[in-house]
């Protein structure tokens, strides 16, 4: 076992040695793979941030329940609280609503409606489940309550956002599949060129009793290492892009009085990206060297 590991270590070190002997070619391939991988990774990060941002704007897809005039608001609010699927209820009385309106609109006290307050009492309901189906069912139950004049939900907005995010997620998957295939082809082609450049060496290895596994090994290490380094390059590019975007976003935050910071991939996701790069690199090399061995070119 010790000898087996030592042999693998030796091949790994030789692979690194080969990389350092042709740094420009290695760097070019690694950056090419990095750019290929950063596209789906960047789109994924963008989607996650968009989702976080939308949740910040509309926490849990709240429902505004307008109470009928002349009903005892406290009784209706208590009835709302008893409905299953309601996580929280915030009651805004007509007087409080008027004050908030006057503050938000910049109009002075009584300037908007005179002495009369036309605003109804409003219960802002937070659903326990913010999926569009659950929110729609809850809206229906709320409308059926006596004392409820109107229920306004941001359901359409939630559905549209949900559909847009689903489309985005699907695009990430399609883009990732296509660019994953591109990565396999890039490394496959690099491996094919490397095999062609080492046919004499491979012939000697065969002559002294080298197995196909022995011949494949350095190419597989090179493929996995190239893919892994490409993924590392993608992570760096992503961080640079996020750092570049955070400045303008901070300025936008100040203008809107909000507080938001773009987040990148977490540690597990970054590790997953590195592993995926190495795996796809290994796969590209495995296909290329396998084809060469089967065709008897080496």
């Amino acid at each position: 076992m010790k000898a087996y590991l030592a042999r693998h270590l030796q091949v790994f070190m030789r692979t690194i040695g080969d990389f350092t002997r042709s740094p420009a070619a290695t760097l070019l391939t690694v950056v090419m793979i990095g750019v290929t991988m950063v596209l789906p990774a960047g789109l994924y990060v963008g989607l996650v941030n968009l989702q976080r941002l939308s949740l910040g704007w509309q926490p849990h897809g709240s429902l505004s329940v307008y109470l009928a005039k002349g009903m005892a608001d406290t009784g209706v609010v208590a009835a709302i609280r008893r409905i299953p699927g309601v996580a929280a209820v915030r009651y805004i009385s007509p007087a409080q609503g008027l004050r908030e309106f006057e503050t938000a609109s910049g109009l002075g006290a009584g300037a908007a409606f005179g002495r009369r307050n036309p605003l109804p009492g409003v219960a802002v309901v937070t659903p326990a489940d913010s999926t569009p189906g659950s929110v729609a069912r809850l809206a229906g139950r709320l409308k059926a309550l006596p004392g409820v004049a109107h229920v306004q939900s941001n359901l359409v907005w939630i559905e549209r956002l949900d559909a847009a995010l689903a489309l985005g997620r699907r695009m990430v998957v399609i883009l990732a599949l296509m660019l994953g295939l591109a990565l396999v082809l890039i490394i496959g082609n690099t491996t094919r060129a490397a095999v062609a450049g080492r046919t004499a060496e491979i012939a000697v290895v065969r002559l002294v009793g080298g197995t196909n596994a022995f011949i494949r090994r350095p190419f597989l290490y090179a493929g996995a290492l190239t893919g892994g380094l490409g993924a590392l390059c993608a992570l760096l590019l992503l961080e640079v892009a996020l750092a570049a975007l955070n400045g303008p976003i901070a300025a936008l935050d100040r203008a809107y009085g909000a507080r938001y910071q773009l987040s990148g991939l977490d540690f597990d996701q970054a590790l997953g990206l590195l592993g995926l790069g190495a795996l796809l690199g290994w796969l590209g090399a495995r296909i290329a060297i396998g084809r060469a061995l089967r065709a008897g070119r080496v």
């Binding site: 030592a6 000697v204 290895v205 002559l207 002294v208 080298g210």
Partner: protein
């Protein structure tokens, strides 16, 4: 050790390289395989190493019937033989030590053992002091001796050489053939393909002659 029975070899373009060739080499023997260019000497060696397969006939090497050898057993069969080429086929970007160590690395020999055996092999061919050199920095004779060290480092039962003195002057050729004789004295079976008649006469070993793909003398 080596037995060829009614061996024929026809290449895809129709050239008949060997026609009904048969001979035997006993264990521990040293034999020269000779004949003019195009006689089929190299083809015989390629068949023995299984670099080519015969069109017809049977070849048995070190107890293996090569016609029945499974492809996955081929690398392990090749570890039982050592091969020296006229052009020595050294890897120019690897050191002399790494070139000689290759059969041991391939066979999975442990690092310490590799070092001992490579240095011993280089010692035998008189190149211990050149272990860190790269092949292009060596003379033709030195390169050929590195090739011989690589062929012998894994202690094969059979040593095959294809025109090992083809590119060397007379004095260097004598040294190389003397090395083969020395290994043969230690029990290694040696088969050398050459048209160097001087070396054949000097060595006083059995000779198998080929001409245009046929046996010329009886084995």
């Amino acid at each position: 050790m080596i037995e060829l029975k009614h061996v024929f070899k026809r290449y895809p373009l129709g050239t008949e390289a060997l026609s009904d060739v048969g001979f035997a080499v006993a264990k521990g023997e040293m034999v020269f395989l000779t004949g003019p260019s195009g006689a089929g000497k190299s083809t015989v060696l390629k068949l023995i190493c299984l670099l080519e397969r015969p069109t017809r006939g049977q070849i048995v090497v070190n107890g293996h019937d090569l016609g029945r050898l499974a492809p996955r057993r081929l690398p392990f069969f090749r570890r039982e033989i050592g091969v020296v080429f006229q052009d020595n086929r050294l890897l120019n970007e690897r050191t002399v030590f790494d070139n000689v160590a290759l059969p041991l690395v391939v066979a999975g020999v442990a690092g310490d053992d590799i070092r001992k055996r490579v240095l011993a092999a280089l010692d035998k061919v008189g190149l211990r002091q050149r272990e860190r050199s790269f092949p292009p920095a060596l003379s033709g004779g030195e390169q050929q001796r590195v090739g011989i060290a690589r062929a012998l480092v894994h202690r094969p039962a059979l040593l095959i050489a294809d025109e090992p003195t083809g590119n060397l002057d007379a004095a260097l050729s004598d040294d190389i053939i003397d090395l083969f004789r020395e290994f043969n004295d230690h029990g290694v079976t040696v088969l050398i393909a050459t048209h160097d008649l001087r070396q054949i006469e000097r060595s006083r070993k059995r000779v198998i002659r080929l001409g245009e793909g046929h046996m010329v003398n009886a084995p």
